[in-house]
């Protein structure tokens, strides 16, 4: 017994000291991270940052510490710093970093960017929760209004869920029977006799499309190529609306003469028209998409992976125009896009104010650009905070109104609670579009 006790003590001491020394280093790191996480939960962000910094000073390769620090910065409102910290994590496909990035995008009201990052996250994890997030963000992105559009020879406008139309009604594209089949053209908006409650309107060539409040698609006008998707080619036209879908899942429509591209709420792209496709058929090659637009013969599509594709004519193949795109616009043949890094790429050169710069990805405004539009005569840029700036001849003019901006044929439209406004980029001015007699200055 007297021999055994010291031996046991010696053994216990060796084991204890050995274990403690071996685990101390790891414990120090873990304790910094745990403490940091605790402070984050307690919303003590500066203390959290301090703990994560300590951990990073010991191990600059610690992913958890870097992510925690980025999160602390984000919570303290320093988004650029948080993003900078996350760069190596994102390059390494860190799931946590993507989750934080989606949160940051949502906080900065950049739904399109959030959607793309959420999609990347879902692709990385194949996790149901992440897919659900994509769906949620997609519905946000697709929920923006579209109360006006202009086709080849007619226009559509929604006021109080009623559709109004004006222009030529040769093929019944105005929806109503007024002047149907004649070469006369109405100058004032008049009721299109749409039987439902309208949510969004679109014009493609000489065909009118309406998405009703239930998410169903309706069409009126020319259907010579079967572009209405009703499994028939109309040889002779008749006035009135035809319901195309009853699945309640239509989000956006784009098209040109003889073609109809439909984006459903799940981000899938569908097509009908030229090429003998008489019923809506899914275009599978591009995967999920977030935006579509058409102008002239060109159709452009933005995928959830941030790739911008375009094709000219139905027989053309889809060609990738750009990568890392979070928004684009197509107006009067001018394709303009904003990259994930907020750079603006336009098809023509603009004189820039000295505060703005250029990068290999495009124009860099002195604010983070979310959306950009151009019809060749100027550039309209929307800040991530919603404010709008018009760039013309090297000078910027702040547009007083905020709202959703989109293109309609050759026009750029700003829509908000006050109404629908047509933006004149050359003059940096806006006119309100009224249902009773055109424009109100």
């Amino acid at each position: 017994m007297p021999v055994l006790i010291p031996l046991l003590i010696a053994l216990a001491l060796f084991a204890g000291i050995g274990w403690s020394l071996t685990h101390q280093e790891q414990e120090i790191k873990t304790s910094h991270i745990n403490l940091g996480q605790k402070y984050l939960q307690e919303m003590d962000y500066s203390s959290a940052a301090a703990e994560f910094l300590l951990c990073l000073s010991e191990d600059p390769t610690s992913q958890n510490a870097r992510l925690g620090l980025a999160q602390a910065c984000c919570e303290m409102g320093d988004i650029p710093r948080a993003k900078e910290l996350m760069e190596p994590l994102l390059a390494n496909n860190s799931v946590g970093a993507y989750q934080l990035l989606v949160t940051i995008d949502e906080k900065s009201s950049q739904s399109e960017l959030a959607l793309m990052h959420a999609k990347e996250l879902a692709d990385l994890t194949d996790n149901q929760q992440d897919y659900a997030k994509v769906k949620e963000l997609l519905s946000q992105v697709l929920g923006s209004p579209h109360s006006y559009d202009a086709g080849a020879d007619f226009e559509l406008l929604i006021r109080n869920q009623t559709v109004y139309s004006r222009g030529s009604n040769l093929f019944g594209q105005l929806g109503s029977s007024a002047m149907f089949g004649t070469d006369e053209s109405s100058l004032d908006f008049a009721s299109a006799d749409f039987p439902g409650t309208a949510e969004r309107v679109y014009c493609a060539g000489r065909t009118a499309y309406v998405v009703d409040t239930d998410g169903n698609l309706w069409a009126a006008g020319e259907n010579r190529w079967g572009q209405m998707g009703v499994n028939a080619v109309s040889m002779t036209s008749k006035p009135g609306w035809t319901q195309i879908t009853d699945s309640g899942d239509i989000s956006c429509v784009a098209g040109n003469v003889g073609t109809l591209y439909v984006m459903k709420s799940d981000g899938t792209l569908w097509y009908a028209g030229q090429g003998g496709v008489l019923s809506l058929t899914q275009v599978k090659e591009l995967g999920q998409i977030s935006e579509i637009a058409a102008d002239g013969d060109c159709i452009a599509v933005l995928t959830l992976a941030g790739e911008l594709y375009q094709k000219n004519g139905v027989n053309d193949a889809w060609k990738r125009a750009a990568k890392n795109v979070c928004h684009f616009s197509l107006c009067d043949g001018h394709l303009t896009w904003v990259t994930m890094g907020n750079a603006i790429k336009a098809s023509e050169n603009f004189a820039l104010p000295k505060e703005w710069g250029m990068s290999k990805d495009g124009i860099l405004a002195d604010f983070p650009a979310a959306h950009a539009f151009s019809n060749g005569s100027g550039l309209l840029v929307q800040n991530t905070d919603g404010t709008v700036v018009c760039l013309n001849r090297g000078k910027t003019v702040q547009i007083t109104k905020a709202g959703t901006i989109y293109t309609a044929g050759r026009k750029i439209v700003l829509e908000n609670n006050e109404g629908v406004f047509l933006v004149d980029l050359a003059e940096a001015s806006m006119d309100r579009l009224s249902t009773d007699g055109g424009l109100v200055g």
């Binding site: 007297p2 010291p6 020394l21 910094l53 089949g181 028939a232 002779t236 008749k238």
Partner: protein
């Protein structure tokens, strides 16, 4: 310790009072000693971890002042100071700011602001936050002056700073003086002089510490390629035997003997697992090792001289020596093993523990971040200088820098460490996914170790996994190098170095070839297993002419034709060129995987497309100086492939994706694929569906002339050269044929009716196209009215069943109101068959009704909806025309 003291007192008391026996007294006293010893150890250990002074802060700030930021960072690392020490924290902030890392500096300032400070400290912090870059040096001085150090301490530290930063000690022959001289030599990159000084040092002061220093200097000398001879170690004025030549000769004899044995081995049969091949590999390894030893005798002697030294410092020197003799993996293994060794634990130095753990983490795991950052580099350089802490210049010696760079470069990922090569759905619903990447990850996948495989949101059970590694299996690699004019100069030299480096270090079992391309392309070295032969070819590259990527690929494929094992083409270019898609098809047909490497003004999209189409990856370098690392990163990827075969349970869904996640590294790959059964079954031979109308009257007139007469039918389509025979109601004669047309002679003996076209192909397949020939009695041609439509045809027939058939009719609308415009103008290339009830006499086909349309419906330029850019073909095949006075439409049947 307290417990020990209590036991001691109790034992003493009991012993004095003689309450316990002597053996118990001894036992309890032993326990006291053990507890006391443990207490002292813990106390000293803890004390060693906390810096009680500001020595390192002073030295770090002085370095900052002198612009030596790297040394400054190492001093701060050595301090092991607590984070809440204002002076150390402020020094860190200052260093971050000097190094331009505003982000981290700002965060640290935020954190420091929450600490208790006096007004002077607050002022300094404010100045740190706002100071311009130019005034940061002044802040260093302010902070030095604020340090709570006495005058004499400051003087001592200044002396230390002067000596450690490399002042001249040429006159000082003391042990310290000689050590500082070596430090100075290393700082000035004069390794020869350092070698002389180290030898002088060891001669005068032969102790373990100096032996370690000499070993370090030998490592530096070996790495720099300097010469060391036994003469250098001879006592002054005496000569010694040339032992290294003898040793070198002995080693050479040994490896030459092994080479002879290798040559005597019988020819291999291609089976890599055969005993002959295994023996060959063993011999090759032994030969390589002996060659290395014979070239680096003194490095290996240095290793022997410190073999008994088990300190952490010695481990680091050993790693440096192995690195110096290009045994990188061995060097890394030493560092990784040291990370968990008792020496590092007992050292009590948190910084070195962290640095070693970090090295271990990045080397042994597949998913590390921020290894390109300054902090990581500083930690590595601190580690390599750890063996000689007082000799600062060893932290920035050539080995320390190169070794750090190599570790950093190794972590740089130019390519994905796991990527999807191909998804084969030819056996659908059995799917075969091919993955490539780093062998460690592929190994885990092959063992199904912690991996998740999903197909379209459903976990799949794997039928089979096949794993091929680049080191175990034979590969054929072709390097296609851009030799264009733009490559001349630095770029081509970098490319040559990169290839040399790749060939020196490559561990892939392969035969390799070299192709150069410019405006044309040429195989410089056909497939060979000799790296030397390939290197000779590489040396002939000179940079001349234009850039023709296609020529490079074609010649690369040609170089690999007929080769064994996996075929890989590595194409490197710095330019742009036109591209012919057919080379991709050629590469796929030949089973050649293409990796593309680009730098400079390349067409990234094109190179990415080529690589992705051919199962490889595109590796982008910023400039030619990175080529070595880029090629090096391919070493771990080429030839490594895993093929996963699984069967889908819900094959109905055709829009699918494959997903695999390596849970350990959190890496995942995903690939979408669309299964198109129709496409798989699509027949290559086709005939455009434009039926032909013939009148009985015409056939009769020809039959009257000769019963064996034929009339000609002209068919358009694709791949029609495959047609061996044809029948159209009866056997026909093929008058002429090409890929796009078929001219048939049809006997005039046919009776009225509708006939199908049967084509028998050369492989025996019979294709049937229904309702291709319509024969009926001729009716008047002209305008026929149907609902609101007006049709015109030059050939109208009445079929035996009563149907009225219009051949190639043009279709217009008939407005019911004067104000309305005529809008419709279409053409049907084929037949429109109206029901038998039509009132033919009045050329009316009825107010309401339907007609079967066969053929191609196109829009005419006079149609109001006509648009020049639109496709004018509306429909082809069979359809149904429905008409009435208000509206007419065509539906697909």
């Amino acid at each position: 310790m307290g417990l020990g003291a209590i036991i001691f007192l109790v034992t003493l008391l009991l012993a004095i009072k003689r309450k316990i026996k002597a053996r118990w007294v001894i036992s309890l006293l032993l326990c006291c000693a053990l507890l006391g010893g443990a207490g002292v150890f813990c106390f000293r250990y803890t004390a060693s971890r906390t810096s009680g002074d500001y020595d390192y802060a002073y030295l770090a700030l002085r370095c900052m002042e002198k612009g030596m930021t790297q040394k400054s960072s190492i001093y701060l690392k050595r301090s092991n100071a607590d984070s809440d020490d204002f002076y150390y924290a402020a020094s860190h902030i200052l260093l971050e700011r000097i190094q331009g890392n505003q982000t981290l500096a700002d965060i640290q300032i935020d954190v420091l602001q929450d600490m208790k400070m006096d007004s002077e400290q607050e002022d300094l912090l404010e100045a740190l936050e706002k100071a311009e870059l130019q005034s940061l040096s002044r802040l260093c001085r302010t902070l030095i002056e604020m340090l709570p150090l006495r005058e004499d301490e400051l003087q001592k530290l200044e002396d230390r700073f002067q000596s450690e930063s490399g002042n001249d000690y040429s006159e000082n022959a003391s042990e310290y003086g000689l050590q500082m001289r070596i430090n100075c030599d290393i700082g000035e990159n004069d390794v020869d002089q350092a070698m002389d000084d180290a030898i002088e040092l060891i001669k005068k002061y032969p102790n373990a510490k100096n032996r370690l220093l000499l070993a370090s200097v030998i490592a530096e000398q070996t790495y720099s390629g300097g010469h060391i001879s036994s003469e250098d170690f001879a006592p002054e004025g005496k000569s010694v035997k040339d032992t290294e030549s003898k040793e070198s000769d002995s080693l050479r004899q040994q490896y030459e003997e092994l080479e002879r044995e290798l040559n005597r081995l019988p020819q291999t049969d291609g089976d890599i697992n055969s005993s002959t091949n295994k023996r060959a590999r063993e011999l090759e390894d032994q030969i390589d090792e002996l060659r290395l030893m014979s070239k680096n005798i003194f490095a290996y002697r240095a290793l022997n001289s410190i073999a008994s030294d088990t300190s952490l410092e010695a481990e680091i020197v050993r790693a440096k020596i192995y690195y110096a003799v290009h045994q990188y993996d061995q060097a890394m293994e030493i560092l990784c093993d040291a990370a968990d060794s008792p020496q590092v634990v007992l050292s009590g130095d948190r910084s070195v523990q962290s640095a070693l753990q970090m090295v271990k983490k990045v080397y042994r795991t597949d998913n590390s971040v921020e290894t390109q950052g300054r902090d990581f580099r500083n930690s590595l350089e601190f580690l390599f200088g750890y063996a000689h802490p007082e000799l600062m210049n060893f932290s920035a010696s050539p080995i320390a820098q190169a070794f750090s760079e190599q570790i950093i470069e190794d972590q740089k990922s130019y390519n994905d460490r796991l990527f999807l090569v191909d998804i084969d759905t030819s056996q659908y619903p059995t799917v075969c996914a091919e993955l490539a990447g780093k062998s460690t990850i592929l190994g885990r996948i092959a063992q199904q170790n912690n991996i998740r495989v999903v197909d379209s949101q459903q976990n799949v059970s794997i039928d089979k996994i096949e794993y091929l590694t680049g080191t175990e299996n034979f590969n054929s690699i072709c390097f296609a190098v851009d030799n264009s004019g733009s490559m001349s100069g630095t770029a081509i030299n970098d490319a040559k170095d990169a290839l040399h480096n790749f060939l020196d270090l490559q561990n892939i079992r392969a035969s390799m070839s070299l192709v150069r391309f410019e405006s044309g392309a040429e195989i410089l070295v056909p497939l060979t297993e000799s790296a030397e032969q390939l290197k000779n070819g590489v040396d002939t590259l000179n940079g001349n002419g234009g850039t023709n990527i296609c020529a490079g690929i074609r010649e690369g494929i040609a170089a690999l034709t007929g080769s064994v094992g996996s075929k890989t083409l590595v194409l490197m270019t710095d330019g742009q060129s036109s591209f012919d898609e057919s080379v991709i098809t050629e590469a796929i047909d030949q089973d050649v995987t293409i990796f593309t490497i680009g730098f400079g003004d390349v067409n990234d999209e094109l190179l990415e497309y080529i690589a992705e189409s051919c199962g490889g990856q595109y590796l982008r370098a910023t400039d030619s100086s990175e080529l070595s690392s880029v090629y090096s990163s391919l070493r771990n990827v080429i030839g490594n492939k895993v093929t996963i075969t699984y069967t889908i349970q819900n094959p109905e869904e055709t829009d699918r994706y494959f997903y695999l996640q390596d849970v350990e590294s959190e890496m995942s790959v995903r690939g979408n694929y669309i299964v198109d059964p129709e496409k798989e079954q699509a027949c290559e031979v086709f005939v455009s569906e434009k039926p032909i109308v013939q009148t009985i009257e015409y056939l009769d007139s020809r039959r009257d002339y000769s019963p064996d007469e034929t009339f000609t039918v002209w068919l358009e389509g694709g791949n029609l050269k495959q047609v061996a025979s044809a029948s159209l109601g009866t056997d026909c004669t093929i008058l002429s044929q090409d890929e796009t047309y078929l001219e048939l002679g049809v006997p005039v003996s046919l009776a009225g009716g509708v006939y199908a076209l049967n084509l028998k192909l050369s492989d025996g397949t019979v294709l049937t196209f229904d309702e291709m020939l319509w024969i009926g009695n001729s009716l008047d041609s002209g305008y026929y009215y149907a609902g609101d439509l007006k049709l015109w045809s030059s050939k109208v027939v009445k079929m035996p069943d009563g149907r009225i058939v219009l051949s190639d009719p043009s279709i217009q609308d008939e407005p019911d109101d004067e104000k309305k415009l005529q809008t419709l103008s279409m053409q049907l290339k084929g037949v429109a068959a109206f029901s038998a009830l039509a009132d033919v006499d009045n050329l009316s086909l009825g107010e309401t009704g339907s007609a079967d349309l066969f053929g191609v419906l196109t829009m005419s330029s006079s149609d109001r909806a006509y648009t020049y850019s639109a496709v004018q073909t509306i429909l082809s095949g069979r359809s149904l025309l429905e008409y009435n006075p208000e509206h007419s439409c065509v539906k697909v049947r």
